[in-house]
């Protein structure tokens, strides 16, 4: 039987696969895809043999920097990135949570200086497996489910 692609094939660019369905639009926002002029295809609630259902994002002619793609690890630590050139996957990448997260996450403490001063937020990743962060400034610890993106 002919296997039908659930999202159109990509000639050149980046395909982000196995995104949990709840995280697809967070990934869009983390990578600022809404501001890109490149062709972006977003598929969600697609069938997945591994996950039941999943999301896929394909971005034509765009290759992200390491620090850009690692942001995704905050909301979707197990996604795969496929770098595609001429319809072929030339490289597969796993996302890795960095040691420090700057300017992406909001501190949940309303009395934190970062919520009251025009400045970048900064968090230390204190547990990479459980995704736990600590504010560099007010020292509040934030668990994965409490993470709020800016």
């Amino acid at each position: 039987m002919r296997k039908e692609l659930q999202v159109a094939a990509l000639e050149n660019g980046t395909a982000i696969d196995h995104i949990p369905t709840s995280a697809v639009f967070k990934v869009v926002s983390l990578l600022h895809l809404q501001k890109l002029n490149h062709r972006v295809t977003i598929g969600n609630n697609l069938k997945s043999s591994k996950m039941g259902s999943k999301g896929i994002i394909k971005v034509s002619d765009k290759f992200f920097r390491e620090d850009e793609i690692n942001r995704i690890a905050l909301v979707a630590p197990n996604v795969n990135l496929n770098i595609i050139r001429n319809f072929e996957v030339v490289e597969k990448k796993k996302v890795v949570l960095p040691d420090e997260i700057i300017e992406i996450v909001r501190c949940n403490n309303p009395k934190c200086i970062t919520n009251n001063e025009p400045m970048k937020t900064r968090f230390h990743v204190i547990d990479k497996e459980m995704v736990e962060l600590q504010c560099h400034y007010c020292e509040l610890k934030i668990r994965k489910e409490e993470i709020e993106l800016i």
Partner: protein
């Protein structure tokens, strides 16, 4: 190398702490010294705290330094909407050192990152107040002759009590053990118990305050149980007179025991304790000045003979 600013007691190693305590002891022996002649220190108190400000300003005065600053945000330009960054940049044009108290947590860390001159955190919201911890450690060292292997009983608001949290952190280098005495609603948070576990610090928790929790200890550290910390006022009414130290509770305590309190005290230490030679909270407050003299000189790279 010594840290350039003092933001968090956790930034100071065991060596840093001991160096500050030794210098503070020299200032206690000879307090007035002309070490800050020609220097200007700024005291920026975005949140009023008379006790802390007077201690810092006396420390600067006794070193012959000069002081600029404000004691209340209402008289600073932050009421006009100036950012903290702009205030710090402006003040650092004038002063050699900034001493800052601010109601926002993390403000001192931020100030230390943007300021070209050293910053001393004199309290950032409920986060950190490292000179309080250093003066507590100095007082413990002074009264016990060591910081090693001491049994510490802490009583009162252990949930929000910043002084207690930092004291646990500061003593973590020195093999202490703790008794935590608090009402259930203000019990020591899990994260500090986890910290103790990680550092191998033994502790026991009590909800009742009796001589049992005091008798084996070297230090009894009392704190205030504040009404505004309770969600259930009935609960406050129940506990408000329970965590009070009376003189007779000290009858079977160790000879070397000293009673400390970060002050201000309200009712948690009854007046009859004041005359007991084991009461040491007023001397403790005075030690704050020597410790602050030591921190200021340390950050400015001034040798104290």
């Amino acid at each position: 190398m010594s840290p350039k600013s003092l933001v968090n007691i956790g930034d100071y190693s065991e060596e840093d702490i001991l160096r500050i305590l030794q210098t503070a002891a020299r200032f206690k022996e000879k307090t007035n010294r002309d070490l800050l002649q020609g220097k200007v220190c700024a005291t920026l108190f975005f949140e009023p705290s008379t006790r802390t400000r007077l201690s810092f300003e006396t420390a600067v005065n006794r070193l012959s330094g000069r002081i600029i600053g404000f004691s209340d945000a209402a008289t600073s330009s932050s009421t006009k909407g100036e950012s903290l960054k702009d205030t710090i940049m402006m003040v650092s044009n004038y002063a050699d050192l900034i001493i800052m108290r601010h109601h926002l947590e993390g403000s001192a860390r931020y100030a230390s990152e943007i300021s070209p001159v050293p910053v001393i955190n004199a309290g950032d919201g409920s986060n950190q107040h490292p000179t309080q911890t250093l003066l507590d450690l100095f007082t413990i060292y002074e009264t016990q002759g060591t910081l090693e292997n001491l049994a510490i009983t802490v009583v009162g608001d252990l949930k929000y009590g910043r002084a207690v949290h930092s004291l646990i952190q500061g003593l973590s280098h020195f093999n202490s053990s703790f008794h935590f005495v608090a009402p259930e609603e203000l019990a020591i948070p899990d994260k500090y118990k986890a910290f103790c576990d990680k550092k191998g610090i033994p502790y026991r928790e009590y909800t009742e305050f009796s001589s049992d929790a005091i008798n084996g200890s070297d230090i009894l550290y009392m704190t205030r149980v504040q009404k505004e910390r309770f969600t259930d006022l009935m609960e406050y009414e129940k506990v408000k007179n329970v965590y009070v130290l009376h003189n007779d509770m000290l009858n079977n305590s160790k000879e070397n025991l000293k009673v400390l309190h970060p002050l201000p005290r309200v009712k948690e230490i009854s007046q009859d304790v004041d005359d007991n030679p084991k009461a040491y909270y007023f001397q403790q407050a005075k030690n704050g000045m020597y410790v602050r003299q030591a921190v200021i000189c340390d950050l400015l790279g001034i040798e104290v003979e």
